[in-house]
Structures are given as structure tokens and as C-alpha cells.
Amino acid sequence: MLKPRILAAEALAPYHEYDSILEIPNGNNPNQNAWLTLQLRVKLNFVDSKNPLPPLTVHQGGKWYAKDHDGYLFPLLDWRRT
């Protein structure tokens, strides 16, 4: 049976990071396809000295750094809030 809405929590990897919503047209227009919407729901967390997130952020010698995947420390700037 067709399930028009599948939530991320209901799906198995690698399809578990988005909601899928399928909408089927009423059929009045034979050229109209169905609509599939994938809702990724991504949250961006803007990390800086005012919003630190160890171990990604490192405070060393009075300066803030971002540690990358290899462990290198890159000087960090604050985001400008708009």
C-alpha cells in the first residue's frame, strides 16, 4: 500500500535523514506529474567564540581556533549576526 508520507525516523539508512512526502495529482491534467518533496530539516549551528562547541573549538593562548578533521587548528573569526 502506498504510504504518501514517510518520516525520517521510520526509514532505514541511508534514507533516514529526510522526510518524504508524495502528493498525487487529481488526474484532471494528464501531463501533471506527482510531487515528491524531501524535507531534509538541516539545522546550521554557527559556531564561534560566543557559541563555542568543544572539541571543534579550542581556546588557546587567548585566541579561538577551529580544529579540523586532521587536528589542525585554524584561527577562528566570530560570525557577524545580521
Partner: protein, 148 residues
């Protein structure tokens, strides 16, 4: 969105602004919706091809600038920070750091160093959860000169 990439090229240390349309607070739910007409693009490259390389998959899934209203079903990519899809818990949280592009040498805690002619989208090794601002404004996969 502010054209950050052109300003980065001069190597000046920038206090970059959070992209217009994205709220400054870190607790907002951002969503990317792709309508069926463009789903092939996402499924073909963003989720299937790159899923064996999780760090790339995450980058391909990065929200891109808002190009239209979700309801008109024309635009390929959408961001809504407070729109009809803003409720609910996020499926993925990506941390984004703002790097100082004026530096050319970085080091580890153990003393190993690495020198760059100029920082670019591949200098900072991102992973699936932690991005640098280049991933947000000028992803490495869009920079032809530093393609994989």
C-alpha cells in the same frame, strides 16, 4: 546572499555575516525541500553517489540559497527558516565555523604544521557534521581549480 567568495580572494580576514535569510541564533530549524521535478539531481549525486563518502554526502546536502517559494514547485532548492516547514526537530545539525583566511600556516596541538599559499575550500578538513565557512559560501566541489 552577500558575495563572500569574491572578497575572500583578496585574503583579508573577514568577519563574515551569517547568510541573509538564516537567523543568527543557532537554534533555528532550516529545511531544504526539493520538488519532484528536481529530485533526480539530489538523488543522483547528493544521496546515492556520495553516500559511500559521508563527508561528501553531507556537503552535497548543504542548504543552498533560497531561489523561490516552496509552494510554486518550480525552484529546485529552498530554505525556509520560519516558513510552513519550520516546525519539528532537525534531522541533521551541521556546525559551521568562520575561518580567518589571512593565515597561511596552521598547526596541531602536537606541533605538526601545514602551510598553504592561500586557504581555500579544501584547506580545512570538514567532516559530516563540522563545516567551515567555505563549505557554506564556496564549496570545494564548486571550485573547479581544486576539484577532487
Amino acid at each position: 546572499m552577500t558575495d563572500i567568495s569574491s572578497r575572500c580572494s583578496i585574503g583579508a580576514a573577514l568577519d563574515r555575516a551569517i547568510p541573509k535569510g538564516i537567523r543568527a541564533t543557532s537554534g533555528e530549524n532550516l529545511e531544504l525541500a526539493i520538488c519532484a521535478d528536481h529530485a533526480k539531481e539530489l538523488l543522483g549525486f547528493g544521496l546515492l553517489v556520495f553516500y559511500n563518502r559521508p563527508h561528501c554526502a553531507a556537503k552535497r546536502a548543504l542548504p543552498l540559497p533560497d531561489v523561490g517559494d516552496f509552494r510554486n514547485r518550480i525552484a529546485a532548492r529552498h530554505i525556509t527558516a520560519a516558513g510552513p516547514m519550520s516546525t519539528g526537530t532537525p534531522h541533521r545539525t551541521i556546525n559551521v565555523v568562520n575561518l580567518d583566511y589571512a593565515v597561511s600556516t596552521v598547526s596541531t596541538a602536537s606541533g605538526a604544521t601545514k602551510t598553504f599559499p592561500q586557504l581555500n575550500g579544501r584547506s580545512f578538513r570538514s567532516d559530516a557534521l563540522n563545516y567551515d565557512d567555505a563549505d557554506l559560501f564556496r564549496p570545494a566541489w564548486l571550485q573547479k581549480d581544486i576539484m577532487f
